[in-house]
């Protein structure tokens, strides 16, 4: 390794972005930390809160895509593994955004499991199927909280499948 390869350079850039968002651009570098209008933050949060009603339709639609991808995976299509990961990640994203904790728990578990799934392994297929089964019940029965009585039951079913076939 040459001496040049060892060099560390620290580069301080002009803060062009700050200059763009302050009224007095000439003093931008002297100004302290700023803020985003709190009313605007409140309105942005309302965008999330107001769209909560769309969650059930959206998650049902993605769950339909996930079920289709899962069928393809079971029939040996390797590229369907990626689709299973994508759709289970989308459900994780949605469910966590709107506080559907049980669905987040199952979809995240499926997403992480599908990263290491061997589609030729029947036990792996059984574990994946158990995920889809509990997710279907969660969607149809609109179960939200992770500690709801039915939620505990569904989690136990999945845990047993993972323990037995994992």
């Amino acid at each position: 390794m040459s001496e040049k390869d060892d060099e560390v350079e620290i580069i301080h850039r002009i803060n062009h972005l700050k200059r763009k968002v302050v009224a007095d651009t000439k003093r931008a570098s002297m100004l302290g930390e700023g803020r985003i209008d709190p009313d605007a933050i409140e309105r942005a949060q309302a965008v999330i809160d107001d769209s909560q009603d769309e969650y059930l339709d959206e998650v049902e639609s993605i769950f339909g895509d996930l079920t289709k991808a899962w069928s393809e995976l079971k029939s040996g299509e390797h590229q369907a593994v990626n689709q299973v990961q994508v759709y289970s990640n989308r459900i994780t994203d949605l469910a966590s955004t709107y506080g559907f904790d049980l669905m987040r728990y199952f979809s995240k578990s499926l997403r992480d499991f599908s990263e290491r799934i061997d589609i030729a392994n029947k036990n792996h297929i059984t574990i994946g199927q158990a995920h889809l089964d509990v997710m279907m019940i969660t969607v149809h029965e609109k179960i939200k909280e992770e500690d709801a009585p039915k939620a505990e039951e569904l989690k136990a079913v999945l845990d047993q499948a993972i323990k037995k076939y994992g």
């Binding site: 560390v8 620290i10 062009h16 972005l17």
Partner: protein, 187 residues
């Protein structure tokens, strides 16, 4: 010298953000939130190759009013194309692409993903689920606390250390002061 108190909320109407995300529902949600913040233009694409073309088109020339100011990217699925996009930007020949502030948003929260994004050169990481408060905080970090860039063997990107206070101990990553060059961008 004390920094002047910055009372007025930031005017984000001149800011242009490129959002790279393949989940249409999240694109719509994030776009609406950013617009509520007052961001002037939110462009979006679900394709990394398209994102690269947009960055070259908008930021490939001299500094101008059409420039993209912040890149917000998701991991982009199992291919992790979002990380590849960050690496591409950080190795770009044009400074307006190379030094672009990058906010990485991900529902994958494993240490491996976070470290991968950080090592690729992102400025900030937004862990999903997103909330308005979290998104605003990350934007403010980008505006108010820009980290200096570090060019070192095997790394180019914003300083990966969060804290900006003066470090009192011995700097072990730099073998001697002769190995260190500090560059300040000229006006």
């Amino acid at each position: 010298m004390n920094a002047a108190v910055n009372q007025e909320p930031y005017a984000l109407s001149g800011v242009r953000i490129l959002l790279v995300e393949e989940f249409p529902f999240m694109v719509a949600l994030m776009t609406s939130m950013l617009r509520e913040f007052g961001v002037g233009q939110v462009m979006s694409t679900d394709n990394v190759q398209h994102a690269k073309r947009l960055l070259v088109d908008h930021n490939g020339g001299h500094r101008n009013t059409k420039m993209i100011d912040i890149l917000m990217t998701d991991l982009m699925g199992p291919s992790r194309a979002g990380v590849e996009l960050v690496q591409w930007a950080r190795s770009h020949k044009k400074d307006t692409v190379k030094y672009l502030p990058i906010l990485f948003a991900s529902a994958y929260t494993s240490l491996e993903v976070v470290e991968g994004a950080r090592d690729a050169g992102v400025n900030e990481i937004l862990m999903k689920p997103v909330s308005a408060e979290k998104l605003a905080q990350r934007l403010l970090y980008i505006i108010d606390r820009p980290r200096p860039f570090v060019k070192a063997p095997g790394f180019f990107g914003p300083d990966r250390r969060r804290k900006v206070e003066e470090f009192k101990g011995e700097e072990k990553r730099i073998r001697s002061t002769e190995d260190l060059t500090v560059v300040n961008e000229e006006e």
